[in-house]
Symmetry: D2
Subunit: 339 residues, 4 copies
Amino acid sequence: MIVVMARGASEDEIRLVVERLEGCGFQAVVSRGAVQTTVEAVGADGRAPAGLESLLASGNVERIIPFAEPFKLASRQVRQDRTVVGVKGVRIGGPRLTVMAGPCSVESREQLLIVARAVTAAGADILRGGAFKPRTSPYDFQGLGVEGLKLLAAAGEETGLPVVTEVMSVDDVEVVMEFSDMLQVGARNMQNFPLLRRLGKVSAPVLLKRGPSATIKEWLLAAEYLLAGGNANVVLCERGIRTFETELRNTLDLAGVARVKELTHLPVIVDPSHATGRRSVIPAAARAAAAVGADGVMLEVHPEPERALSDGPQALTCEDFALLMQDLRSYWSGKSTDA
Amino acid sequence: MIVVMARGASEDEIRLVVERLEGCGFQAVVSRGAVQTTVEAVGADGRAPAGLESLLASGNVERIIPFAEPFKLASRQVRQDRTVVGVKGVRIGGPRLTVMAGPCSVESREQLLIVARAVTAAGADILRGGAFKPRTSPYDFQGLGVEGLKLLAAAGEETGLPVVTEVMSVDDVEVVMEFSDMLQVGARNMQNFPLLRRLGKVSAPVLLKRGPSATIKEWLLAAEYLLAGGNANVVLCERGIRTFETELRNTLDLAGVARVKELTHLPVIVDPSHATGRRSVIPAAARAAAAVGADGVMLEVHPEPERALSDGPQALTCEDFALLMQDLRSYWSGKSTDA
Amino acid sequence: MIVVMARGASEDEIRLVVERLEGCGFQAVVSRGAVQTTVEAVGADGRAPAGLESLLASGNVERIIPFAEPFKLASRQVRQDRTVVGVKGVRIGGPRLTVMAGPCSVESREQLLIVARAVTAAGADILRGGAFKPRTSPYDFQGLGVEGLKLLAAAGEETGLPVVTEVMSVDDVEVVMEFSDMLQVGARNMQNFPLLRRLGKVSAPVLLKRGPSATIKEWLLAAEYLLAGGNANVVLCERGIRTFETELRNTLDLAGVARVKELTHLPVIVDPSHATGRRSVIPAAARAAAAVGADGVMLEVHPEPERALSDGPQALTCEDFALLMQDLRSYWSGKSTDA
Amino acid sequence: MIVVMARGASEDEIRLVVERLEGCGFQAVVSRGAVQTTVEAVGADGRAPAGLESLLASGNVERIIPFAEPFKLASRQVRQDRTVVGVKGVRIGGPRLTVMAGPCSVESREQLLIVARAVTAAGADILRGGAFKPRTSPYDFQGLGVEGLKLLAAAGEETGLPVVTEVMSVDDVEVVMEFSDMLQVGARNMQNFPLLRRLGKVSAPVLLKRGPSATIKEWLLAAEYLLAGGNANVVLCERGIRTFETELRNTLDLAGVARVKELTHLPVIVDPSHATGRRSVIPAAARAAAAVGADGVMLEVHPEPERALSDGPQALTCEDFALLMQDLRSYWSGKSTDA
């Protein structure tokens, strides 16, 4: 159940609603939009509370909405205006296309700094890089771990870019938060519920990748774990789904991005690198992501892709990336560089 | 095996190569590009000819390429410059984005004329409409048949637009050719090989839709049936593939469009109406199709979508379509309206 | 709408119902079960007739069932007892597991006779073999055509087995009927509606393969085209669906066979050869098909699989087949060899 | 690289090989088969060691096999004889079909005991039940947690059955080990690599479910994480893959079970309950699993399925289960009840 406070409801009036809900044994989660505030109530047994209407009638409440979608806090039914997630000053979901770029894996200080400087010069907004790497085979390179995190933090400091990196385990949440500005949940962990519950309790923004075989509904329900835990700073990332087609690594669901933006108020970005796995089609896919209404793109860049320890075939060179940035910034009138 | 003639090879020199190939028992298919001509040789048993190199060495031949891809005539290995397919003066595959629009099914003279006039006024290039309709259920509306073809031809004449419509059966090829300018092979017929073989023998341009579960390789091999038969006027149409995701009707494989354009010289258009089945996301998907490099889009338009006999939920109104056209024409700098 | 005649309704009473339905402008299709007869009424516009209840109340009618499933004549709602399809004395759908076996393609008189004699000796019920072959590439072996049909008919005559073979086109229906006892609709033609409509008008039994990306509902609706046309002798064949898994050629949907048998009264067989594409797992898959309740299996057998012109890797040798037959006949108590 | 020790190689000879490998900086993992022992060597950088042949030539070594499959320790290349995994006296992978049964979720002491007694009486081998439940929605019942574990342990003690239950997180491994005999990795955690690495270090047997969109190769590589960590007691469980078909919950890949048994020496069981999600087809699917060569089945049983807190539609009643057990035990001659 969602309680939509009237416009202009005071903090005291909001607190009163929360207290009453909690007094009845429900969990209450407050979401503050640009215009209106909403309070969600969920009972301990997962069912929506009943019979609260009269209790709440006395407060400064505009409407009470019973749940229609299985995802609730993520739904646009609850919040009409779009969420903008701030990452150390970068605003994701506003009028400007956000570009996250960097190497798939942090391999060395030198490799990372070359890429970080190149993507900064080309106009990227956020630096990405993997320190903890989920790998299908136990015999593949598993990432530099904490050493990689430290290199990322240093590169972020030098370039002034916020840093996003993957966290694979509840036990790593604290150390990843210490060295980065945004926590990425990888596609294979989209339904790692203990991890989602833990990240619902942190204040850091979370980038939630869609699982390769997750439906849009499951993806939004995974986001719901974060929101229901109390973390409203969630950005979704489409990175390709698994289908019968093998010509590219995955099938990038761009029309699905348009659809998910109808269903949720959360920002949605696109990762054409993992989705296609093929350098030559990444620029076209990134342009299409911008055209379909994505709030940003995430791109892998490597100084020497042919020598990368992971996913070389899908990394752009620094030069490719600079060209693509010119294209993206000039291309898409909807999200200008200085909005 | 592909024999690439030298630039400036004369008709006599080309004919000589063809005669020698045929004299050895092979089928020879000539493709004339803007710059160079190629001759493909295929043996009656499906194997490439061997030992012809010396025979051909005397002609004005630049190179001989053994087959690497299972699709041959469709491959960019064979033909570097892009094919432009002309449909009664409209050029598909050139610098201008081609827009095909019209109702899913021709339902009546009045319905068709309203749509035809509206899409003409909004700047569409080709009129589409279904007379023979493949329907999953035998109890659904199956189209007006020849009566629908006549209405289409009349609407094309009045508006000056060329007409594209589906042909479902070898037996209908002649009548569909009589009343239309381009023959569409529907997604469910993509591997109807007798139909493909028949259409390889006609001169009319063919629009070949991708099967909902066809790989890119299978799609190009279906085109190969047409090309090997002798019909070089083939346009491909991506219309969504079948995946586990049910939020939209199909999953539109836009990155796949970028990939297929690397593999083939044939033009590729996109049908966001069938791909998504949801009016609200069609404009975004059409913009993304243009951005990813498609040569055109095909859109369903109905004067009253809620009363359509087929696929109403995916039809744009005439007003929606006019707005989208403005967007598409101004949007995409790569394919301008007057190129 | 389905009119279920009372047990013991006479031919006159049935004819009366048909006449009344047709008099109201509906198409009436009569299905005769072992115990009861049903008459389906479909309006010319695809809608079920309304207001007929009073008209029919006077006849010897047990119940009138409005349509709930999109497939109607194929539904078990209409007919509780299972359909048994006879193919020249072989009964498919009864207590005995039916085994169809033979080469993928008819390649020569000698090859076919070796296989036909071997499978007869091992206890097969029906001889299969392809004369018209749908091939993904135009450059692959396309079958011997009518010459292959004649060889099949001769092999059937010699061994006494009925013959099943694929028909790919409306134009070939007559010639295929002349030389065979059961017509196969291949997976890629499952939604070739003109072909289905044509086969609805013949008396020969039809084996309808499931399309590699067809849902169970779509498969039953394709069967509905045959039944609504008037041909009640339809056998379904599961042959694997297309999924992301590439370890085997397709994914054999055996639990789906159990489900489709709940939904329809038609017999269902399984083709483990095409489904898996891998000789070594075919016996296990055939046993599982019997265990899950399939009414039969279809198996490819070749005297020298490594020299087959098509699909060699999925063909059993004659010896493999004989061993599997012993296993199948002794294995499955539910369908004994002499039932 | 795999070093296959000669039959009869002594413990000293094995230790010598291990020491030499480790002395060169490699990790050495010893696998003891019924007949032969193998030692795998993996370099710290994930590459196989080179130049060791001469070093090892002096030992009692039969063969040295370079890696061909990406999964190594799980491969039948390494180990021809099948692994049998013991769970408190129950042997999985031997001649007898293992049956695991119990409720989806542990809901109460009473519910669990009713089921535990019923499945014991019917002849089940292992008691299953969920205490930590992965749920798509944060608002669904999440399981009783440690309280559920205690109830499971008590029910196991009363009935004498070993207990298997899911562990969702590295942090829960110890407590789940304390109260159960076999640890289940759920489908959504199949690529939770920190969890796999942790479970590679325990001695308890692990039941590794296939992810709903995992290829067979990825599944075996997930098992490889466990084996490479040192835990050889791994049982695989097929539970349906995600496809376009929605008639059943998932598509049960039974032919894939036959294939995976060719690729690995590990036991493979099947879960028809999750795979189909539909009570009526579970018995047929379980019979087919036995027929295809699975080493066991896992079945959900609930005293009152219509009142289950999770997955009621796929639970058998206690009576259904008893009937199915009779069928399974008498049915499958390959795996007899008293082997």
